[in-house]
Symmetry: C2
Subunit: 416 residues, 2 copies
Amino acid sequence: MKATIINIGDELLIGQITNTNATWMAQKLNQHGIAVDKVIAVADKKEAIVSTLEESFKNSKIIILTGGLGPTKDDITKDTLAEYFDMEMEFHQESFDNIKQLFAQFGKTTDKRYKVQAEMPVGAKILINKTGTASGMWFDYEDKIIISIPGVPREVKYLMKYSILPQLKLELETPTIIHRTINITGKGETHLAELLKDFENKLPSNIKLAYLPNPLIGMVRLRLSATGNDAIVLETQLDHHVRKLIPILGTMIYGEGKESLESVIGKLLIHKGFNLGTAESCTGGNVAHKITSVSGSSAYYDSSIIAYSNNAKINLLDVKPKTLSEHGAISEETAIEMARGTQKLLNVNCSIAVTGIAGPTGGSPEKPVGTIWVAVTKNEEIITRKLKLGKERLQNIEQTTTIALNLLRRFLLDDL
Amino acid sequence: MKATIINIGDELLIGQITNTNATWMAQKLNQHGIAVDKVIAVADKKEAIVSTLEESFKNSKIIILTGGLGPTKDDITKDTLAEYFDMEMEFHQESFDNIKQLFAQFGKTTDKRYKVQAEMPVGAKILINKTGTASGMWFDYEDKIIISIPGVPREVKYLMKYSILPQLKLELETPTIIHRTINITGKGETHLAELLKDFENKLPSNIKLAYLPNPLIGMVRLRLSATGNDAIVLETQLDHHVRKLIPILGTMIYGEGKESLESVIGKLLIHKGFNLGTAESCTGGNVAHKITSVSGSSAYYDSSIIAYSNNAKINLLDVKPKTLSEHGAISEETAIEMARGTQKLLNVNCSIAVTGIAGPTGGSPEKPVGTIWVAVTKNEEIITRKLKLGKERLQNIEQTTTIALNLLRRFLLDDL
């Protein structure tokens, strides 16, 4: 069962936007047992659309087109397809009602253009789009299925999720595929693949393991996908294999699915009744930014001191001038005093302190760019880590943030 | 003059990676006067590559293929093309020398696989790749040009910039196109288009204006592209039109090309001999993160207090308990005291203070989500702004950061 994705729009051909629709659609189609044969970006020109469509018939049963369904003159997909399939256009009440409803939400009334937008080809199945004014269209043509939807990412997602994928499953009896994503930090893809060699070899043939690494921030997601007919059987099977990962990976696993490191830390802090403060030098607020990106973080997050200057380290965080002069700002001693100073200053149970050289300049032979000290406290306890990262400023900031947050997580789990 | 981009790789068809190569390549080709007819992602299978190539001959003079040139068994592009063009393979000394040199940089020696990788089709022009072990290939075939390069983004960029685009220019006498990008914040795309209507209508036919908006962070880039034969004439022409933008847009323009708002602020602070501290509540460190993402920012950036709790606002920033109880944490009064407290605490000339409700929860009828106060100080002077943003947490954080930084920039320019 193969599909071709055709993304219509000049903006793709001049490089104004990146084709993220294709990435998302390809993921979802594959996850539903439909392989993607080609992804083709074409101009919003009639001949280009028709010739690409016909070319796609050679290898694909399903062709999904995005784009060119708006209310302007440039939007020619609907007319092109209606003409190609030799269908009349007719006013479609349900589509127009949907448009009116969307406008009503913003206290507006529709204008004339939208009457035209509600004209749909007679004979096509119409896919009502609750997220936008253009309905989708489904054409059954010979043994092919041709689907045309708008190109706005939110609308693509809505129509794929609630209309196209369920209908394809019904009509084509595609297998049921269930996924489980395990979020990991602490080891890279290569190392994980080594650890999981045996696990992977012993997986039943209907379960596939995929590595989704994000090296910039130092995280890897593992995706287990089970294919079969019965969702409940597959869920149980996945449960079983996810459980087998735990003794192998332990607390390298920080969460599942959409759980982020910062949301997991939030839950742990709330559970323990702890609050948190941070003191950052080289990460410049990124640790705080991550923690506060969780809605509700004010329940456990107090404050952060971003102490870029030595003065701020001394005056705010109570780092001793002697410590700075003897060991330097980038040292275990300074990191410890920053972490303790944060606890005292903000009156918090837990603190994270980071000090280092993010680069690309500022290194020395003894302390090259990428030398970073992290200290984490939990009441009286304290742990420290020395990091030796690379030369890329942004990557150093992101990776240090991940490592510092993960250190706190494992500390809270008494796993250090 | 048309081109087709063919990106080879299963990872594109399962949605594992987004095709950013195509975006970048399309931009560059268009900027060099070569329109892109189609972008096609295909599997690394012989038949798929050959049929897509032949299909592309219909509309394009130039076909650029990426991917499938690595040293593993899956990499079949080179053999497929050599067979298609009926060329023998031969050991290519210059390619092998390049591989050896790359390995030597890391103190390593090459292994056997790389002898095979240095075998190239006889009759193709070989494009030496200083950024990777796979050379590119250029085939002249009938009236077509077929170019095959590796798919690693860094290698794509290197080979396009230093090899393919200059050679295409030479062979095809494509026009010279020169671009200038103007970075703007403070107004959205629609408003700018209104302001620039007259300017745009009066542009000579060889100059095009493009809007590149980034609504998440509240910025728009304007790109002026001039097409002609003589680079110096075009530069002068662009200078002239960029100068015409200044009276229309004024200080909405914060920079050109790669200049960021935070790097511009850095230069202004250094120029004035000022230093900066920040106090953030709802932006949770994002203002500090932006400022410190500039290498060398420690020269003018002192510290930041991320005062999430009222306690921190009171104890660290000297906000009066009475101010908090009478006006609330989200108020002009609190923002002012935070900004003044920051100046005092950190002993800095300038400060930025932000307090608000980033959402999605935490709003009230009087102070809905998206209500944010910003205060900026410059020695004794102070300005404040009330923002009424949307409901999206991340967007609120990003837009507030941009607005706060821009406020400081205009304040430093005495433009408020």
